[in-house]
C-alpha cells in the first residue's frame, strides 16, 4: 500500500487498535504489574544511598529516576515479537498478508493504539514523582519536554523495530522467542532499567553507548530527570535516531526475506 493510502487508513487502524486495547484492559493491567521491577530497585538503591550519595544520586534522585523508569517503560514497550512468533507458527499471518497494507504498519498501529491505556498508568506515576521529589522529577524547560517526547518516540521505535526483527527471525528459525529472551536480558543489564548507566565504570559505559539498549529507556529517563544539557542531549538523540534508522532498515530487510520463506501452515 502506498504511504499516502496507509496514512489515510491509519486513523481507523488506531481506532480499532484502541478498541482492542480496551478489550484487553485486564491483560494490560497484569502486564503493568510485571513491570514493577523499577519500584523494587528504587527501594534497594535508596537503602544504598541512605548514608551517602552514590555518584550524583541521593535518595530523592533514585526515587525520581526509578519512578521515571517505571513510567517510561509503559510508553516504550512493544510485544510485537511474541505476536509475530505466534502468527508465523500458526499461519494466521496469512490473513494480514492478504491485505493491501504491510503487516508492519498494522503491528505498529496496534502498539501505538495502546498508548492512551498506558498513559493511565504513566501519568499518575509521574504525578507521584513530582509530589515526592519536586519539580525536578520532570523536564523544566520547553526544549527539555520536546527532547523528552522525541526520546520516548525513539525509545519506542527501537523497541518496536527490534521486536519485529526478532519476531521475523521465526520465519528462519521456526521460533525466535529465545532470541527475544536474550535481547531482554541484555536490555535489563544495559539499558539503565536496573540502575542508572552513569553509575557503571567508564569502559562499560562506552560499550553501552554503542549499543541500542540505553536508547530504549535510559535516555528518555535521563532527559525526563534533566541529566543532560541541550548539547549533550542532542548528541544522544542523534545516536538514538541513528539506531532507529539502522534497525528500520534491518527490520524491512529481514521481514522481506522472511516473508519469502513463509510456509502459511494450517488451513
Amino acid at each position: 500500500m502506498s504511504f499516502r493510502n496507509t496514512m489515510r487508513a491509519m486513523p481507523t487502524l488506531l481506532k480499532v487498535g484502541f478498541a482492542e486495547a480496551v478489550a484487553y484492559r485486564a491483560e494490560m493491567l497484569i502486564w503493568v504489574l510485571s513491570t514493577t521491577m523499577p519500584l523494587v530497585n528504587m527501594v534497594l538503591w535508596m537503602a544504598v544511598a541512605r548514608n551517602a550519595p552514590v555518584g550524583r544520586f541521593g535518595q530523592a534522585d533514585f526515587v525520581g529516576y526509578f519512578l521515571a523508569t517505571f513510567a517510561v517503560r509503559q510508553l516504550t514497550s512493544s510485544w510485537a515479537a511474541w505476536l509475530i512468533n505466534w502468527e508465523v507458527r500458526q499461519g494466521t499471518l496469512s490473513m494480514r498478508l492478504l491485505r493491501p497494507i504491510s503487516p508492519l504498519w498494522a503491528y505498529a498501529a496496534e502498539n501505538i493504539a495502546g498508548f492512551p491505556m498506558r498513559l493511565i498508568v504513566a501519568i499518575p506515576v509521574t504525578v507521584l514523582a513530582v509530589v515526592l521529589v519536586g519539580s525536578k522529577a520532570v523536564p523544566q524547560h520547553a526544549w527539555q519536554w520536546a527532547f523528552f517526547v522525541l526520546a520516548v518516540l525513539g525509545g519506542w521505535a527501537i523497541s518496536f523495530l527490534a521486536n519485529v526483527t526478532i519476531g521475523a527471525l521465526s520465519f528462519f528459525l521456526g521460533s525466535s522467542q529465545k532470541v527475544m529472551e536474550v535481547w531482554l536480558v541484555l536490555y535489563f543489564v544495559c539499558s539503565g532499567y536496573m540502575y542508572p548507566v552513569e553509575l557503571l565504570p567508564a569502559g562499560l559505559r562506552t560499550l553501552i553507548n554503542w549499543l541500542p539498549f540505553r536508547y530504549q529507556i535510559g535516555l528518555p529517563v535521563e532527559l525526563m530527570t534533566g541529566a543532560h544539557g541541550w548539547r549533550e542531549a542532542l548528541v544522544l538523540l542523534g545516536a538514538q535516531w541513528a539506531w532507529v534508522a539502522v534497525l528500520g532498515a534491518l527490520t524491512v530487510a529481514v521481514w522481506k526475506q522472511g516473508v519469502r520463506r513463509f510456509a502459511a501452515f494450517g488451513g
Binding site: 500500500m1 480499532v16 490473513m95 498478508l97 492478504l98 491485505r99 510456509a263
Partner: protein
Amino acid sequence: MISVRGLRKHYKVHKRPPGLKAALRSLVHRSYTTVKAVDGISFDIRPGERVGFLGPNGAGKTTTLKVLSGLLHPSEGEVTVDGHVPRLREEAFLKKIMLVMGQKQQLLWDLPPAETFELNRAIYDVPAAQYKQTMDELISLLDIGDLIGKPTRQLSLGERMKCELAAALIHRPRVLFLDEPTIGLDVSMQATMRTFIKDYNEKYGATLILTSHYMDDVAALCPRVIVIDKGLLSYDGSLDALVQRIRPEKRVVLRLSEQVDAARLAPLGGKVVTHEAGTAVLQVRQEAVNATISRALAGLPVTDLTVENAPLEEVMSELFAENKARREAAAHEAPASESVPA
C-alpha cells in the same frame, strides 16, 4: 484471468524418527526430506468461471490457492492472476482478490464484526457510498444484522462464517479463493453459503476457485473441476465428463411398496448396489437404463423411481484409487528400465 504454467512448490522438511536417541542425533546431524506439495501443474481459468479444486488431503489444493493469492512463493513455474504476479503482492493485486479459509479467520476475536468491516473499509480504501451499499446488501443477503454488533467470540461457527464472508467481500474482489468455506457448518448453513457465493459470482462476474471436501458444494457451484493428486493435475474438465469417464453407469433407485426377494431384482439387469427394506439401488449401463426401468415397472411394486449419477464421493475415490495404482505401476517399472543396458 488466471494462468498457471509448470507450478511447483517444494518444501525442505526436517525429518527424524521418534525417541531420545534420534533427538540427540538430530542435535549434530539433521536430515531433511523434500516434500513436493505441488509438482508441475498448468491450467487457465477464464474471467467469471467457477472452478472446483478437488483432491484428497495433502494433494496440494490449498498450497495452489496460497500461491495464487500471493501467500506462498512458488519454487518453479509462472503464475499470473489478472495480469499480476501474485508473489509480488502488489497493492492493485491484493485489492482485487480475497482468500477465505474455513479454518482461519480475519475477524477480530474480541471485537464485534462491525469493527473488522470498518477496518477493511479503510484498508481497501472503499468509498463511503459503495461501502454503505455493499454493507446493506451483505447484511440483508446473509442475514447478519443482529450479529455484527456482538463480539466475534460470542458468535456460533455458522454466524462467524457468514460474517467472515461479508468481511471478505467489502472491497468486492474480482477473484475469490475459497478454501473449505463450509467446513463444520450444518446442512442448511452450507446451502445458504452456496447460494450466496453463486449469486455473488453471477452478480459481479467474479472468478471463483473453491476447494471443499463436501462434494455437494462442488456439484452446486462448479461446472468445472480441476483434480490435483499428490501435487499433480489428474483431471481438468467438466464435472459431468468426469463422472462419465470414471462411472459411466447410472444408478436406478427404486422405492417399493413392499419387500421383494433379491431374486426378483436379478432379471432387471445391472448390479444391485443396495437392497434394503423398501428401496433397491441398481447400477446399470447407460444404454440399458430404459430396459431396466421398463422391466422394473412391469414386474415390481414400484412407488417411486429416480435415475442418478454415481455419488461424487465414489467417483472421486475411484479416480484417486486409479491414480494411486498408476503411480505404483510407474514406480515398479522405473527400476527395471534403469537396469536395461544402453
